[in-house]
Amino acid sequence: MKSGSNLERVLEADQFAVTVELGPPMDCSAEVVLEKARLLKGCADAFNITDNQTAVVRLSSIAGALLILQEGLEPVMQMTCRDRNRIAIQSDILGAAALGIRNCLCIAGDHQSFGAAGRLKGHPGAKNVYDVDSLQLVSILKGLRDDGRQQGGDPVETRPPLFIGAAWTPMGDPVDYRPRRLRKKVAAGADFIQTQGVYDVDQFRGQMAKAAAMGLHEQTAILAGIIVPKSAVMLRYMDSSVAGVTVPRALIDRMEAAKARAGDDKQRVRLEQEEEGIRITVELIEQVREIEGVRGVHLQAIEWEKRVPEIVERAGLLPRPTVAEA
């Protein structure tokens, strides 16, 4: 047992794991975080608190993680490479571990230019850090935990018990290189993987087969990312603009059909598509579950956390298992 975290225990017990994303607010409202936590309690084995996602300043991942921990939920903190150098990274990790946070997802982080999108101004002129990349970040955490050493070589007496996660974009470009990149992440020390959102199950299945052929599914626990779609517009946007996400025509057509069914009433148009989105989500969960090597799902309902309990229920993922601490 590397960390003793709930997520780790569930996976060790060979249970199909569920993680759910929780987005913190753009201000210091602890109440917003706590409300979401109360809503989601019991829906997953661990909950990811994003780290200034899309380079938008939000209540920090560590603070958010502590808040939900106090509500009885297990957090997965996220750490990007964009905003902190290795000194701050290690410092934050040690602090997080001291606060009882056991899971950490290591990601590169969207470029700061992403923060200025839509109605948001963000901080596109900020000086980014990227002192280390996501793979190096994984190895740094591993060094702290397993070798009791800081990256520069100084000793760490009380080692942080961490369950180390990394992201994988199986369908990203260049697509034939992606399974090899996963192998690198595993080599660096990733204990679990949360993938970018999957809509094209066939393509995902193909990439998982390549990963399995390299035995990667046995060395790391891969959780398939599922993004809950709300509308045809959202699906089309993700297909065209989000790197690594491809949406099959069939799903877009289904959403369009739902829209057509609703007629002219704006409210109904929205509701019909949302219901179709929930249906699609449940189906996707069921489909990826069948794929060899998929040890769980990572559910992302962006600013729609309230529908998560229903989704996990309908997908047959409740109740979540309780695995005793060793």
């Binding site: 230019s113 990227y130 280390v132 290189y177 090899r180």
Partner: protein
């Protein structure tokens, strides 16, 4: 080459408003090659400035000068002599930041203004397009990445790229930026050395670069010590 772009005309004009006799200085090296500050550009800018001030009915003498390279102290001596003998009040440099700095140093009591925004180390990829290719990191790793620099050409300077934002060979920041890692993978695939990328490159020592502080290179054997002349 060092690639630069001319500053907006209005800004450059604002630098020299209060001076009556000016010298616009071009550079015959990088600035010429990237069509920003060569002889032709000096002529054009000087002419444009003269027309602008003429329009405002203001007296200004705007003279022109070109140097082979503004980054060579010795090459600047004729210019310094001219500035003094002709009563120049301010100098506008169309060289890169290095040139501006050196001119400022040489022309102690004369203000020197930058006519260019110095951008990066790069090369031309097609007529009219220059792309950043080197980050001047101080510890070159091009032998590991098929000759393509991940520090300069990856927006996140990843050493174990690509990130999940790479799309159709382009970077997530926009369609005009190529994904450096897509280029590296393609090149190494062609060279048959893709296996080398399986090794996880460890966190980099950035102190060889600007982050370690302003840098200098010293070749001891070439430095003339005072004792040598005695």
């Amino acid at each position: 080459m060092i690639v630069g772009e001319q500053k907006p005309f209005a800004q450059v004009k604002s630098f020299i408003e209060e001076y009556g006799k000016l010298l616009v200085v071009g550079c015959g090296s990088c600035a010429t090659v990237c069509l920003a500050g060569g002889e032709r550009e000096v002529m054009t800018l000087a002419s444009a400035l003269r027309i602008a001030f003429l329009r405002e009915e203001r007296e200004k003498e705007i003279l022109e000068h070109c140097v082979t390279r503004q980054c060579e102290p010795e090459f600047l001596e004729p210019l310094v002599a001219r500035a003094r003998s002709e009563g120049i009040e301010a100098v506008l440099s169309l060289g890169c930041g290095v040139g501006v700095k050196l001119l400022a140093e040489k022309l102690q009591d004369l203000p020197v203004f930058p006519g260019l925004d110095t951008k990066f180390f790069g090369a031309t990829t097609e007529a009219g397009v220059w792309v950043e290719m080197c980050a001047g990191c101080g510890d070159c790793i091009l032998h590991l990445t098929g000759g393509i620099c991940p520090i300069a050409r990856c927006s996140k300077s990843m050493l174990n790229g690509p990130c999940g934002g790479s799309k159709d060979g382009k970077c997530e920041i926009g369609p005009d930026t190529e994904c450096g890692w897509a280029l590296i993978i393609e090149r190494m695939r062609r060279l048959g050395t893709l296996d080398r990328l399986d090794e996880v490159l460890p966190p980099r020592d950035w102190s060889s670069g600007h982050f370690g502080g302003p840098r200098r290179v010293v070749r001891e054997e070439l430095v003339t010590h005072r004792s040598d002349d005695e």
